[in-house]
Symmetry: C2
Subunit: 522 residues, 2 copies
Amino acid sequence: MQLYMTQALHRSRQQQPERIATICGERQQTYATFVERCAKLAGALQKLGMAKSDRVAMLAFNSDHYLEFYFGTWWGGGAVNPVNIRWSAAEIAYSLDDCGTRILIVDEQFKHHVPALRAQSKSLAVVIYAGAGELPEGMLSYEHLVASAEPVADAGCHGDDLAGVMYTGGTTGFPKGVMLSHENLASNALAWAAAGMTAPDANTLLIAPMFHIAAGVTMNATMLVGGTFVLRPVFNPQATLAAVQAHKITHLILVPTMIQLTVDHADAATTDLSSVRVLAYGGSVISEAVLKRAMQRFPNAGFYQVYGMTELAPIATVLSAEDHRRATADPKSTLLRAAGRAGLVSEIRVVSPDGHEISKGEVGEVTVRGPGVMLGYWNKPDATRAALQDGWMHTGDAGKMDADGYLYIVDRVKDMIVSGGENVYSAEVENALARHVAVAASAVIGIPDDKWGEAVHAVVVLKPSAQVTADELIAHCHTLIAGYKCPRSVEFRDSLPVTGAGKIQKTELRKPFWEGRSRSVN
Amino acid sequence: MQLYMTQALHRSRQQQPERIATICGERQQTYATFVERCAKLAGALQKLGMAKSDRVAMLAFNSDHYLEFYFGTWWGGGAVNPVNIRWSAAEIAYSLDDCGTRILIVDEQFKHHVPALRAQSKSLAVVIYAGAGELPEGMLSYEHLVASAEPVADAGCHGDDLAGVMYTGGTTGFPKGVMLSHENLASNALAWAAAGMTAPDANTLLIAPMFHIAAGVTMNATMLVGGTFVLRPVFNPQATLAAVQAHKITHLILVPTMIQLTVDHADAATTDLSSVRVLAYGGSVISEAVLKRAMQRFPNAGFYQVYGMTELAPIATVLSAEDHRRATADPKSTLLRAAGRAGLVSEIRVVSPDGHEISKGEVGEVTVRGPGVMLGYWNKPDATRAALQDGWMHTGDAGKMDADGYLYIVDRVKDMIVSGGENVYSAEVENALARHVAVAASAVIGIPDDKWGEAVHAVVVLKPSAQVTADELIAHCHTLIAGYKCPRSVEFRDSLPVTGAGKIQKTELRKPFWEGRSRSVN
């Protein structure tokens, strides 16, 4: 038998039945109750037709029910399909149909999507309402289902059994369903705990969205060690501060923007944040200024950056609390710009386009191997073959590694521009453009050039009523970065095409330039 | 791809090539060198015919070479067969032949066994000498092999691939080869680290014998996080004290007897032991008196008891440092007699003879499930079927669990006596006998009784020149334990039959009484 996500529930029921498992608004429940409810939800889902590995979706803000959804589905042998709460009904319907999800749980915040989902989705058959207030027509009551179901035995899924299909926004085309196994998720939870990022006495705050794997790994690690969960529906800085003080939160995960909003909130100075021992963040690096403010506000917190992706369940690298301390102690340190080093179930290689590991210090594609690497993309064998080669996940990120194994992400591989044999990282050019007062946003892409192969082209959105010429912007860049990196052409637009998750769709921008030509990566 | 034992080597080579990996007497080497040597040893073993999952044995005291043997064999795709250093040549030859081991590495301490092994073993073909001094005739030089071999690529074994065949002494019949996978060993290493029992800055002392899984899991967890190993050939208290002080040892594992010898050694009072942060022990519970002395001597150490067995790779339960602190703070606490609670990759059930989980507080057989449970016994399908039922390892230990999930081991199941419907634990009766001044040793067994089913029978060895009658001993027991637990008959002998590992062979003692009859367990 290999790793399985339900094992921790058996342990907590046996070792700490009276410990508080979840605190959600006015509700709280012990581990004995929580595990019983998961076993009953599992029974209810099986009665509704959930067989082994069948997908069950949830579309909701964070809550104790969301936690039950994850572990109840696993207890019953199913696979979770947690839905991105920022998506439109059309995107949700696409993802439900893509992996054949029949059962959906919604809360009051998202019940308004249900008519459109019913109209647009072919696979959706059962909607369960886990919200407050009156039961909407045509839906089953979550509470009634759980209350009336018989608890069933743990279905015993483990190892490579499917535990979830989690959709990545993707900046290119349709979202892809990432198939994650029990081994993928459980090995990451162990790595999280082994890195000291959770503890048995944890009071963990889940306020970052629970549909996402970043909150997911925090959740799985906390469950592994049997901590207490404090669940808050949706992020806002004031609620974060209040929850930390009220519940003596010891561990939480946020993205850097959330950290900034929280520490800069007016309440921060008067809130007791001394209980926090671990503040993890992911999604991007943190600015030194924000980190320093955060370190003052959270005086006892170790800061951990996690770089990863859904396809890795999700850890690739960890920048440890010790790394953060060293970086802030040494003004010359560049460590805060690093993504960290390979985590405890990860192996990292930076490779050339032909797949060979390249020297430290050179830029190449970041690839990752280990028990966290996904089973593949749901129903997309070509995408799976492109991403997984000999067990190595090709992240699509361009990065370089220093002598001590710290990884620095420089760009998305496909956004890297090769001009006259030199690599130009679009992110670096965009950073230069961003320092001009007139620039609101920009996207830098490579366009075909007969002489250079590719030429650097900038698509720029100006601030309202700001004015600047292309030549002025190019000259501005020349004051900041090497000549070959500067845009050769600039185009002004009112807006940039973005995905539902807010990422710029550079593929769309490149398309008209490359019509009828081939680019090595698209 | 699932868990694999070589992953940590890739990480350490990438992240800390210049860190000291091993310190062994005058020798020390960096991680860059250590990994290179493992890759070369792997190449040498492959040249000698080691194919995937082929067993390679080592018979030696602890050393850096022993560490290379483990990780070099795994790197090359083989499976380790570490030999019990207390065994006779006949026992070793049996185990080599049982699992078809062709290649054996020996050091100077055990080279004297080689002629007998060559004579008695059919499978042994190649002997490699990893000792000091002149190369014995007919053996290959370990150093020459490693120096002259080409490093090979990691063979990529993982998950259920065979990582080792480790022989259990066994108190009944021939030793059994426990087949352990990469998943078994790596999940235990993660659980060890996640329980806080190792750390990236660890200086780990390996002085308990490395052929045994207890040192093995400490080794694997230290490698996982990339700590430094200090290797000492064989346990003695003075060497332990000296190594701790000289190398600022932070983590080590011993058995309670070793702890007692160490803290009671004359040098203990004048040795600086303040560097030790984790002192793990296994094999038996610790007496409160010894623990208190050890806590004084190791002022900064957290104590961890691990209960387990080779078949679990090896963790079943852990009694944490926090448990030890609580137990010593509360004079009424019985926690020090507990084996601990299910570890982070373990699930525990105490079951009745028909396999059903029984209530907390009741005695039954301890069973364990999780990714640590062995693949099975080598070439012993009947023994495997008896031990593994629906993924649950039947430990053969009788135990009970308290309300908080703490497990107390009361006896071996097969040594438990059922007399008049009451369970009698032989260990309890033996403890009562041991408190009589005349008794040197005893073994209590169940013998057939027409009225009671089984009757309690004691086999007693007296101290030199001590005298006592059977009736006096029985009367003594009545002053200490309930009447139905007291021996009904006592037999005096000069010695008790023991295994190579020093365990009393109760099966041998029972045999004459049960000739022609059947006992439910033997």
